[in-house]
């Protein structure tokens, strides 16, 4: 649908291992994806699946173990410190917890001015105050709050500060790491609407990390499902909600409680919990919980392949389960 748009971010075989005393923890394991300009990629999965690590690795908050990252046509896989500083103008992040991501000793205007000062964006204090005022206006913070401190504000307003800080340098791309998870639903909806408005106005590209399936459908163009460091399914949002092909995605989506009476469909309660991501063997990481697992699944890691046009799945049995001709 957006064939003419240029690719903003492309990631190839991106891998991030953490060293632990018991071996390598495969937080992100050979992940590939791309996001077009002005679009949103939703990354979903449960805690510990590597979605946050992926977002952080993409913008060099973690250094990758291997793989390639292209941003806006440039290879940014390896960057020096000065290059990284320049890069951060264009790539920003909104953090999950508005309670711990803001310095409690800085006022709202100081918090929003900080990125502008670091990048020497303004010539004098008048201009700075003006820019801060504009940003506060953009994210819907009343001017009277400029001297307030984070502890005086509620979660929704704090998250608006987080959004204003991310927008301060006019970035092209923002990694949003669970930006609304800590908020009440009525406030959550306000922030989601704000982020959508900003995207339309400024042609922003988002990587939206969340565990909330309804939110991800609402905001994303494409959706990637992760399980224990691996991408297990990738498709555009409409396709993903029309048919889920990977057994994990099926279970994940059927587990979401729907606020309608009798919406409870067949329960696909999957047994067990996440296995350890430390030194995983050559097997499908979902095999131990999968109702369809066979011999093959325990001996070979499935690759992400295009099963239906535009719909990628990493599962040995995907055709068998879904009755798709090879």
């Amino acid at each position: 649908m957006a064939e003419d748009k240029k690719t903003m971010l492309q990631v190839e075989e991106l891998t991030k291992f953490f060293k632990t005393p018991r071996g390598d923890l495969h937080a992100v394991d050979h992940v590939n994806f791309s996001i077009k300009e002005g679009q949103t990629l939703g990354v979903v999965g449960e805690s510990g699946c590597g979605k946050s690590t992926l977002g952080r690795t993409v913008i060099h908050l973690h250094e990758k173990t291997s793989g390639k990252i292209w941003f806006d046509g440039k290879d940014i896989s390896d960057v020096t410190k000065p290059q990284l500083k320049e890069l951060r103008r264009d790539m920003q992040m909104i953090f999950q917890d508005p309670f711990s991501s803001l310095n409690p000793r800085m006022s709202v205007s100081q918090l929003i001015a900080e990125p502008l000062l670091i990048y020497k964006e303004t010539k004098n204090s008048n201009e700075l105050a003006q820019r801060v005022g504009q940003l506060m206006d953009t994210v819907g913070l009343a001017a009277r709050l400029s001297n307030a401190y984070p502890h005086e504000l509620d979660g929704g307003r704090r998250q608006r500060i987080g959004v204003a800080r991310a927008l301060a340098l006019n970035p092209k791309f923002i990694v949003c790491d669970e930006p609304v998870s800590a908020l009440d639903v009525s406030i959550q909806a306000q922030i989601i609407n704000l982020m959508q408005d900003l995207q339309e106005e400024r042609n922003l590209t988002y990587m939206f990390i969340t565990h909330d399936m309804s939110v991800v459908r609402h905001i994303s163009n494409d959706i990637m499902v992760m399980y224990l460091g691996c991408a297990v399914e990738f498709a555009d949002s409409e396709e993903m909600f029309r048919q889920r092909l990977h057994p994990y995605t099926k279970a994940l989506l059927s587990a979401v409680p729907i606020p309608e009476i009798g919406a409870k469909k067949e329960r696909k309660v999957i047994k067990g919990e996440l296995t350890s991501p430390i030194n995983p063997g050559d097997e499908c990481r979902f095999a131990k919980r999968c109702p369809f697992a066979s011999e093959e699944c325990f001996h070979k890691t499935p690759a992400l392949e295009e099963v239906v046009p535009g719909h990628f799945v990493a599962c040995h049995k995907v055709r068998e389960i879904n009755d798709i001709q090879a």
Binding site: Q188, V215, A255, P259
Partner: protein
């Protein structure tokens, strides 16, 4: 109509400090029938947890103070019970599942010991028998009894919550207060825990007060719903009443704020503004400032709760 196991009448709980009075719960009334599940839905600070603590008589005093009201459990007013009598009710007849399993368990005792502790306190069993019963309870919630000798940190979040559930159900309570039992868990684990609670509830015919902010969970497990806002029950009814004939503007706002899972909506319709500070509640309707239908008369006088159809109560001037 089944007998009401719990009936709350006009319960008011305030937190009083030198500087201010936080009006957490303001004259709420609720009924839970035997074997029934009531979902208590609201946002942070609506007074849901205070209500549950009030039922258990566990509101920290000071600063918490129960200003008035009755809590009738099986025909007896809990407010009139002595602390000693309450101790034999808590954990035995009424038990509570807390939101965060990580902090509800004692990190330096084995889980088996902690479950057995409840059993020994309320039932006349020897230490050995209590431990055996504890292992049985663990099996019931799907954890090997052999793991009774392990400590909480050796279990995952979902399993810890199962242990908390095992503890709550160990003495076969007739009323279970579950305070956001799955909020700290992932969806697939949440599904497992909800399934478990649902099955056990049917098996033991336990009544339940489920506190949550998730209308999806309520639709799945509850029979009746109470929507709480700024210390008041603004709407109360059966699932059909609340989901298919949503009447209070706040409840409508809640539904409008949730992205639809089954079809793509372009814009959400959030409720504008914020919940009022419970230390400084407005006159008249507490929701008036955020309400799209608010008129001048909403901002003064006392509101009455109106029954707009049998069993469906709404506290709003639009219906008076």
């Amino acid at each position: 109509m089944a007998n009401n196991i719990l009936e709350i009448k006009d319960l008011t709980i305030h937190y009083v400090t030198d500087q201010e009075t936080v009006k957490a719960v303001n004259g709420i009334s609720l009924q839970i029938a035997e074997g029934e599940s009531l979902g208590l839905v609201g946002e942070t600070g609506a007074g849901k947890t205070t209500t549950a603590l009030g039922i258990m008589r566990l509101v920290p005093d000071p600063p918490g103070r129960v200003i008035g009201g009755e809590i009738i459990y099986k025909g007896e007013d809990l407010m009139k019970k002595s602390e000693h009598e309450m101790r034999s009710i808590r954990g035995h007849q009424i038990s509570m599942i807390f939101q965060d399993p990580m902090t509800a368990l004692n990190p330096v005792e084995t889980v088996g010991y902690q479950i057995a502790e409840v059993i020994r306190l309320h039932q006349n069993l020897s230490k050995r028998d209590a431990e055996l019963k504890a292992m049985e309870m663990m099996e019931l919630v799907g954890i090997e009894g052999a793991r009774a000798g392990e400590y909480p940190h050796q279990f995952s979040g979902g399993m810890k919550q199962r242990i908390v559930i095992a503890m709550a159900l160990a003495c076969d309570p007739s009323l279970l207060l579950a305070d956001e039992p799955t909020t700290a868990l992932d969806v697939t684990i949440q599904e497992q825990v909800l399934d478990l609670i649902d099955n056990l509830k049917k098996q033991f015919n336990t009544s339940m007060l489920l506190i949550t902010h998730d209308l999806g969970i309520v639709a799945e497990v509850c029979d009746k719903v109470a929507i709480m806002y700024a210390g008041e029950i603004v709407e109360y009814g059966t699932l059909e009443h609340i989901y298919n004939n949503t009447s209070h503007p706040y409840t409508q706002g809640l539904f409008g704020s949730i992205p639809n899972f089954n079809s793509k909506t372009h814009r959400l319709k959030p409720i504008k503004g914020l919940m009022p500070d419970p230390a400084n509640l407005p006159d008249g309707c507490v929701f008036a400032d955020r309400c799209p239908h608010a008129k001048d008369e909403c901002r003064s006088g006392k509101l009455v709760t109106k029954e707009i159809e049998p069993g469906h109560l709404v506290r709003c001037r639009l219906f008076e």
